[in-house]
Amino acid sequence: MMKTTLKYLSMIAFLGMVITFTACDDDDDNDMPVNIIYEQEDQMARPAINTVFVSTGEKDIFNTTPPAEQGAAFATKFNDKLLALNPGYTTNLLGLDAATFTGVLATDVLTVSLNAPTTFYDGTNVLTGRKLEDDVITVELILLFGGPDAMSNPGLTDDHVDANDKSFSDSFPYLASPH
């Protein structure tokens, strides 16, 4: 056992050693960078927007387009998608016509109020944050399919999953312990 431990230690020492004359990659210099740089791979704000509105073949692009540029690049496509999902769309509960609604959605940011209740929708406040218990999908379904009075397409405006399977905590980190 002792012998094994010693071998293990020598291995770790080796793995930590800096190789001075052999490089992995002649295309790239391997010095430690002064700045640690990252390239974006995924991006998200409002729930399920990418899943519902972004077509196959454009998800990588959507995920790497800064929000300030997303509207210009995706608003028309979102509009087409909305009308494909719900050909009878006129306006929704927020009074937004298709172009205005998808124009908002295509810029995928989440507004968070610092001085009012934070909620996706609580009957009064709209899109002022997203709480763990917010039934965000039902809200989105109502806005997509419910028409101006939320009464259209009753079979499509509620997935009838209204709450999480575990209750949340009032203290940090708030999310329920894992299953």
Partner: protein
Amino acid sequence: MKITSLLMIAVLLSACSDRGQSVTDFKDYESYLSLSQAVSSGPVNEELKFWSDRLKKNNDDASLIKLGALYSELFKETGLAEHIVLSDSLYKEAQKRNAEGLVEIYQALAANAISQHKFQDAKEYAEKALSLKDKKSASLLLLADVSLEIGDYARANQILRQFKNKRSFAYLIRKAKVKDHEGMLDSAIVCMEQAYHRVRGNKALSQWALSNLADMYGHAGRIEDSYAVYLNVLRNHPSDDYSLKGIAWIALSHDKKIKDAKRIVNTLAARNRMPELHLILAEIAHLEGNTLEKANQLKKFRSLASVPAYRPMYMKYLALLEAEEFNNASAAVSMAVEEINNRSTPQSFDLLAWGYYHQNKFKEAFEVATKHVENQTFEPEAFYHLGMIYHANGNHEKGDQYLKEALKCRFELGPSTTAKIAAAIESL
């Protein structure tokens, strides 16, 4: 650059030389031999139950995809072909339910096809995934993997050159493969060590990197480091049969502890269907002078590896056996041709040349070997074959040089091939 090359040569020269001392100690790894298959696949089996139950309840794509991934993982643990076949069918069922096809599923099918050595299928799936545009960098990595397998090094290199994250694990492990192929083992080791450092916090990936490093240290002549790393992997993952197999090889080929090697390999053969274990048992029987047992083990290998699900994975081994052990060089040649169609690598052409050599078609062997093998792979097996082919064609100087080069890798070649080469140098 010149100094670097000289140093590299010095390292390579010392790398392949033998070191006398015994490295393995049975007590170090004894406990890993008592595991049952049920224990080793425990976590995967529990997860399988979770997603099978969910599939029954929800009949959803997500469960199908999860189950596909788990059976693919289970295949790597058990070596049972039925697991990878089931994985494929689960993925395909999920794919049927998606009109456009999910890029993740094409990627998973490509990876499965690589595992099964169905490289043309793998290429098709990877190209299909790439054409869907999403998750593009993963699709490109898969294409790089396939390209390396089928010998399209230009394409693999082109993909890697354009890959932006040159410090990422995904890049470094592939760069290691390229360097290894180019015969730059020391660079390959540096790449793999850097890759390991990138994923130290990830148990599965760091173990993967370490077991590959252990192989490479062995090839660099650093047998003690290799052994220590295999043990380290086992400490974190006691059911890692790949590492036990690596230790068995050190015990057999380096330490000449035939009894210890046999105990490991017999244990592995009882709990894992890797057919190649029977090749090692045949080698052991040969060293013990047990001709009957050797023949038995070779037949066992042939019958296990010849079933359709395994055959592409073991084509190379099957062809070598036909030529060297079963006196059926024409079968070896036709298998080599199949292998070239699947992957036109220097190693596949080496099989063809070796088949011709055993048919006494020395001129054909020479043509294939000089055109497609020589200077395109630096592996000891190819050097052994090149040496014999040069001798057979009357160039004894080059023949000897190749054989002597091959002999530097006696650890990799194993005792009986080493003896064959030594005898050839004496007699030719």
